[in-house]
Structure formats: C-alpha cells, structure tokens
C-alpha cells in the first residue's frame, strides 16, 4: 500500500469539511484572484499530475503512459484553513469557475476546531435559522366597521419613547409644582444596536453614522444608533450629531476616559446612555475584542495598548450587589449629564429578567430596559455561548410587558427588544410582532450589517469570522486593505434604503390593523400563531 503520509486524528478529508469547493478546470483562467481574496487561505494553487494510458493501433507499439501536469485550485483540509463558505472566491472569479458547496452531512470539523485546547470562537450568531417571530401573523384586519387605512397616503405617527415616563398623576403634579420631569426622547422604534468602534471597521462605523444623520436631517426620521462598548471617536463626541447616538458603557469601560474628558466640550447631549450588563449572543460573558483588531486607532480610542486582546469582565467590577450597582451607575450616569439624558440598562434576556425589571421600576432614574435575546449577534464569542446560552426574546419581552401591566407601569419603563429580529429577512414583521407583544422598540445589529454592508454571515454557519479581523467585506476588520472594500457613502445609502423600506413595510402592517396615531405597543389582540403552546404562552390568539 502506498504511504498516506502522516495521518493524525485531526486529519480530515474535504468530505469532512462543512464546505467543499466546486471548481471547474474548464472555466478557470488561473488568474489567482480567488486564492488572493480568500480570507482564511482555504485554497491555494494546486499542481495536479495526470496520467493518460495510450494504446497504439496494432501490436507493434506497446501501450504506454503519457504524464501531464495541470494547474488549478487545491482546497486545504487542515482545520485552521477550512473553507468558511463565504463565497468571496465566487464573487471575484471572472469566469464563475469556483464556488463553495455545503457538504451533504454534518461535518467532522466541529470535533477538531479546538486545537491547543481552545474551543472554537467566532463571530456571528446562533447557528439556528428557526424563528418563532416569523410564525406570528397579524390577524386583526380592519374590515367594514373600521376601514383599513391607506399605508401610502395616510398620516402615520410611528415613533416611540425612550426615557422614564412619569405616571400621569405624578406628571401633572410635576408640571404644576415645577418638579423634575425625567428626560424622554421621541425616537424611531428601530434602533441600530450596540456595535463598537473596534468590532466594526472605521468605514462601516462612518457609513452607519452618516446614514443615521441623513435619516434624521433629511428624512425627518429620528433614528438612533448605539456605540457599543468601545468609546466614540472624539470628533463625533464634540459634534452636533452626538444627539443621534446612544453611548454605551460596559464592564470594560473602554473609551469612557475620552468621553468624560469630552463632556465640557459637547455641543449636544447624547440621546441616551446604555449600561450594558449583558448581551444576547453570549449571556453572562463580557465583551471581547480579539488582539487582531486592536490597532493603534482602536487602542487610542479605547485607551489601551495596541495588539492585546480586550476581554471585558462578565460583570461590572464595581458591583457589590446588582441592585446597588444598577442604581448607582444609573444615577451617576444621569448625574454626569445633569439629569438631562435617559440612562437605561441592557441585559441578556434571561429567566431572571423580571427581577431586574422589578428593581428598575423602583429606581426613578432608570429610563428603560433593553433586552437582548438568544439570537443576538456578536463580534467575538465562544461558539458554545452563542449556540446554547440565552433566552428567546418573544416570551421574555411578553413576560416583562405583562408584568409591567400588572403593576400599572407599562408606559413608565419602555422595553426594547433585540436578538434575531429580521434573521430571515422579515425585519418589519418581526419588529411589529415584538412591539405588539409589548416592546417599545427594537434593536438590530446583524440585519443592518447584512442589509447595509453585505455581510455574508448566516445562521447556518457561513463566514462568521468577524472575530479575527479578516472580514472579507471589510465590515468587521481593522485592516485597511480589507475595510477599504467598503465605501462609507454606499453603506450610508443602504442604511437609508433599509429604513425607508422598513418604514413602508411597518405601515403596510399597521394600516390594515387600523392603527396610525400611535405605535401599537402591546396590541396583542392583533397577533395570532398556529402553535397552540406558543399562543398560550404569549397570550395571543391560536389560529389555524
């Protein structure tokens, strides 16, 4: 038997990999673009030997072999170089000669991508394309007694509130006595959730910020964007555009030195402060920016040395008890801006959400609660955290809302839902469903990366290498050779397109329900689902 070379337990064949490359020798011109573009160097130039048996006519000549060599593509099989299915090779190939094809059975790579005892880490989202939100239908269609409205021509008031809202009795008293009225922002219910400067490339960040500014200033849509835990570029902090930005403070406090120092020079207050206690993609785990992405710019903004991994602790270190910490942090953040800026926590959706919420209802400075469900995305996390940790958002938001209804505070603490909204492309329908379950608004991250920048990631484990700085689209890379692929102006344009089409779709949902004068928060009578247990759990109609 011929030698097989060295066979180790982790020696895999192409069949064992999740993605296999289909390459056509016919079409390939050997231009080399695919091998150059491949972010993980999964392919290389292959030199293949070929033998052809030649048999002449008659018996005079003995049959012989003709050996030839041809050049083409070789797919590597070492786990570190496994193809991620991004399809960039297909994108750049002038002849359509190469494309990744998903293997037919579950791969064997999953048992081996933990070399050195380090479990798999990646970016992206939970690898599960199912979505309960997609199953929710809007069933209360206005007919006859209340004609459905015209989504195209009617006036719609589809804004929401972010901020602690006083109960009406207290508000009337405060107005009479000139008392303190907590700050409240009237905003668009679709928020670009926290993605840090550092996790995202500068071009992506700039594009998103430009898109948001355009929506506000040209389209009259009060869209807000959250910074994530990575600080905020100094010029933005000192610009009038800061009012469209929600500054996030998380357990690593990255960037807050810069923010605090900029305070006296701020022309505008930020929209709000989000205190991150958790996120949906990796609940109970702190933020993580891996060293690949910590270049000098990022390091400067975050106030750290370049080239080191930046893991934030899972919890705020100042914490003595959660109640105290939430109360203290909320209050001190509110105080830093003279009680003019709403401050609210963001948590991972969890079965203990109600305990958090009950605490917030008693804290007069808590301006809302953002809840991030298990389908949330992240720039970097352990695969196990992403796939298995966390609570689905639908029942969590419903429980939280109904709990607030029970104590009569449903209008006082707005709930914002995140995690998996639009994961299968149904952004407006998913957002509307969550709003009708009780959310005051929704936060999106992955969706805007897909829609505005062409992110290739998926819930079936495509690409998802956002953590190592090699994002083939330049969205989550800090390498200028990669992020210059992304034109900030075009990202901005796509942000605007996305919001405008969302707005139309949202109207196409609420108009037939006969709603136009206010966002239908908690309008659960409009919702139905075929799954009886889900209907019962969410307290919505069971429809078949």
């Amino acid at each position: 038997m011929e030698s097989m070379g060295t066979l180790t337990p982790s020696t895999l064949s192409r069949t064992d990999l999740p993605w296999q490359l289909a390459w056509s020798r016919e079409k390939c011109t050997l231009c080399g673009q695919c091998t150059a573009v491949c972010p993980v160097r999964a392919i290389e130039l292959g030199v293949h030997r070929k033998r052809v048996v030649q048999v002449g006519l008659g018996l005079a000549e003995k049959p012989g072999n003709v050996f030839s060599v041809y050049h083409g593509i070789r797919q590597k099989t070492e786990p570190a170089f496994a193809c991620i299915g991004c399809g960039m090779c297909d994108l750049v190939c002038p002849n359509g000669a190469i494309r990744p094809v998903r293997g037919g059975e579950p791969d064997k790579l999953r048992f081996h991508n933990n070399a050195g005892g380090v479990p798999r880490r990646r970016g992206g989202r939970r690898n599960d394309p199912r979505s309960l939100l997609d199953e929710i239908k809007f069933i209360r269609i206005s007919m006859l007694t209340d004609p459905a409205l015209d989504a195209g021509r009617h006036d719609f008031e589809l804004r929401t509130l972010l901020g602690r809202i006083l109960p009406p009795e207290a508000l009337v008293r405060a107005v009479q006595d000139n008392g303190w009225i907590p700050p409240v922002r009237e905003i668009y219910p679709l928020i670009i959730g926290s993605m840090s400067f550092g996790a995202l490339s500068p071009n992506m960040w700039e594009g998103l910020q430009m898109g948001v500014a355009y929506l506000n200033e040209e389209m009259g849509m009060p869209v807000r964007i959250c910074t994530g835990e990575g600080g905020c570029p100094p010029r933005l902090l000192r610009s009038r555009f800061l009012k469209y930005v929600i500054l996030q403070i998380a357990s690593g406090y990255f960037g807050w030195d810069e923010i605090i120092h900029a305070l006296p020079e701020m022309k505008e207050d930020p929209c709000a402060i989000e205190i991150k206690y958790g996120q949906g993609a990796k609940p109970g785990d702190g933020g993580l920016l891996m060293w690949y992405k910590v270049n000098r710019l990022i390091a400067a903004i975050r106030g750290v040395p370049p080239g080191v991994s930046l893991p934030s602790p899972p919890t705020h270190q100042t914490k003595y008890s959660i109640e105290e910490s939430v109360a203290k942090m909320t209050q001190s953040m509110a105080m830093a801006w003279g009680f003019r800026v709403p401050v609210y926590p963001k948590i991972s959706a969890t079965s203990t959400t109600l305990a958090v919420l009950n605490n917030l209802t008693r804290n007069p400075y808590a301006s809302g609660l953002a809840m991030d469900g298990e389908d949330g995305g992240t720039g970097a996390a352990y695969n196990v955290s992403m796939n298995t940790m966390g609570h689905p958002i639908a029942s969590n938001i419903r429980d939280a809302y109904l709990n607030l209804v029970k104590v009569g505070k449903q209008n006082e603490i707005p709930l914002f839902a995140g995690g998996g909204i639009g994961k299968n492309g149904n952004l407006a329908a998913n957002a509307a469903a969550l709003i009708m379950l009780g959310a005051s608004g929704v936060q999106i991250g992955k969706y805007i990366m897909q829609a505005a920048a062409g992110c290739l990631g998926s819930e079936t484990d495509r690409c998802n290498i956002c953590n190592i700085g090699l994002c083939p689209k330049g969205i989550t890379s800090q390498d200028p050779r990669l992020y210059r692929r992304l034109d900030p102006e075009q990202v901005a344009q796509r942000v605007v397109d996305t919001y405008l089409s969302f707005d139309t779709e949202l109207k196409k949902i609420v108009a037939p329900l006969g709603r136009s004068t206010s966002l239908p928060i908690g309008m659960s009578d409009a919702l139905g689902i075929a799954d009886a247990t889900a209907a019962e759990r969410l307290r919505i109609s069971h429809v078949l």
Binding site: T145, L171, Q410, R515, T517, S518, I521
Partner: protein, 371 residues
Amino acid sequence: MCRLFAVTSREPLSPMTAVHALNVMKEGHDGSGMGLFLTDLGGSFERFRGSPILSGIFSNEGLRALDRYLMDLDFTVKYKLSIRPAQIPPAGTPKRDNYVVRAYDYPPDWLALPQEEREHRLMLTRLRLRQMGEADGSMLIFSFWPDVIMIKEVGDPMELAGYLGLDHEELQARVILAQGRQNTNYAINIYACHPFFIQGYATMTNGENTAFVPIREFLTSRNYAGYTGYQSDSEVFTHILHYTQKGLGLGLDLYKHIITPLKDGELGHHPNGTKLKQIKQACRPLIIDGPNCVIGCLPDKTIFMVHDSKKLRPGIAGGSPGMFALSSEVCGLDAAIPARNKSTDIQPMKYDTVMIPPGRDEVIRWNQWER
C-alpha cells in the same frame, strides 16, 4: 355603524325626541339595541335631585336580591318609576321581569361622609350589584347616581319606545344621550350597549376602537375599581374621560389632547407645546386610534363631541339658544330641531371639540391648536 344622538334643552324633553331622531337615522343601526342616558331630569324625578337613582333590568329573583342588599346597606326607596311593558315584546327583544328606575335615600350614616367618599361608595355599590347579577343575569345595572336615568334594551328604538312606554310623562330630561346600535358582536350583550356611565360621566361612540387592548390594560392597571367591564371597546372612552377629569384633574380640552394628541412636530409650535407633549407621553397608552365619533356628557351637564384624529366618522352640532343637539348624521338633527339656522351648524373637524354648556346659549367650538 351605530347612530348617536344627544340633545340638551332648557325645557325638559321626553326621550321620544331622541328616539325619533334615531328612527330617522335608521338605516345606520340594525335594531340590535338602544341605550338612553337621561340627566338634568324633569318630570317626577326633578324633586329628587340629590337622591341616587338606580337604573337596570331585574328578574324577579334579582329584584328581591337587590332589595335585600340595599336594605342591608340602609338605602330606602323614595320613588319608583313604573315601566309596564306591553304584553308581547317586539321581535328580538327578550321578555324581562322588571325594568327598574328607583330613587333612593342615602343610608343615614352616609350623609356625614365627604361627597368624594359618598360618590365612591355609590360606584362600588353599583359594581357590587352588577357582580351579584353577573352569573345568572338576574340583575343588569346601568347606573346608580343622582339625577341620572339609563335605559338599555335589545331591539329597534322606535318599537322599544312603544313597548316600554317611553313617552311616559314622568320621564323627562334636559339632557338626553341616545344610541341606536349596530351590533358588531355576535352575542348581544346589553353591557356592550352605549352610552356608558361612570360617576356622572357618560359617553357613547360609534366606530371601532382599534387601540382597545392597550387602553383597557392601562385603565385596568390604574387600580381603580370602576375601570372594569369593557364588554364594548367603547367603554374606555368614558373611563378615559373620568380618569382625565377625576384622576388627573384636567379639563375637557385635555381630554381631546389625551385621546388624539397633536404630532410631535405640531406640538413644537403649539403655544402650550411643552406641557402638552409631556402629557401626551405620560398618557400615551390612552391615545385612541379610531375611527370614532365620541359624544358625551359631563357631571355639570355640558354635552360635547370629539372625533378621532383620522375623523373617519362624521358628526354635526346645531340648534338654537335653548336647545341644541349633537348627532352622528344631519338627518337626526333635522328631525329633532328642524327650525334652526342651518348655516350655523358645525361639523367638527379632527382638531375640534364642540360643547354645549348647561346654559344652552351656544355651541362652543375650539380647536386643539388654541389651547
């Protein structure tokens, strides 16, 4: 679509005025019910101004239970209106044992109570009675309040009026609210019949309240015993009015601003913008989302009309000093007050509130932009 008619007059009127008006608007209701709210009473009840009047429908057993209950509380009957229906009810109208309209004397120990407390107890008594009769349908209570009579029944208004003898000379009022129902719920529940009443406030509506569920949730979570019922999505309009005035101490102008607030951009250049915006935010779950025309009566006997902000339901106000009416269609108004100057009729628009104060001198109209 239900038909609405309200009239206010210096001289007491028979409810037949309103029934006639409903009758000419007949094509808009299907005879599935009529509701009448009478206040500023004339006739025999004028003498009992301060005494609470109980209105409802009782089975014989229910009536006995009522007597027992109120007697235990030390209420004493002061005056009864005898409604003796004809032998055969009109098609669709159930045969009832007793239609009750009775004025009571307060229990002696209530007299020393502050008015607020007495009114609260009166409401709780009504709710308790309603609850007692809920299971077996032996008691249907519409109101229990001084100077208020309510009559509700299933059937065509005109036929009902004949059947119940509503032209009774004892039955007179200076303010009448009347609704002819178009049933939108399959089972006809008399508690879903307008007008709705709570503590001197009454409203009736046509149309559909698409924001009903969140509004109901908000009201029921106010922890106020009276905010209950909601067999009809329109009951919330009455309770929002009550909440605005009794709970928050705000006026009718703010009722309009609460149920149909101006948009934020509009509030930016409203003279009272900041305050209105704060109230809008605090009362956000009370924003209605029509289409609705709301006609109501306040405890001081002012009647008013407002619309949802889409104004997909019409409404008209007109009359002459001494007598004015609000109607969902002009033909109803024409039937009730034919000899008026029609050029002064007002069809309120989406920002308007029209009201006729108890002096009945004029229709006052104001616009959300003014206050």
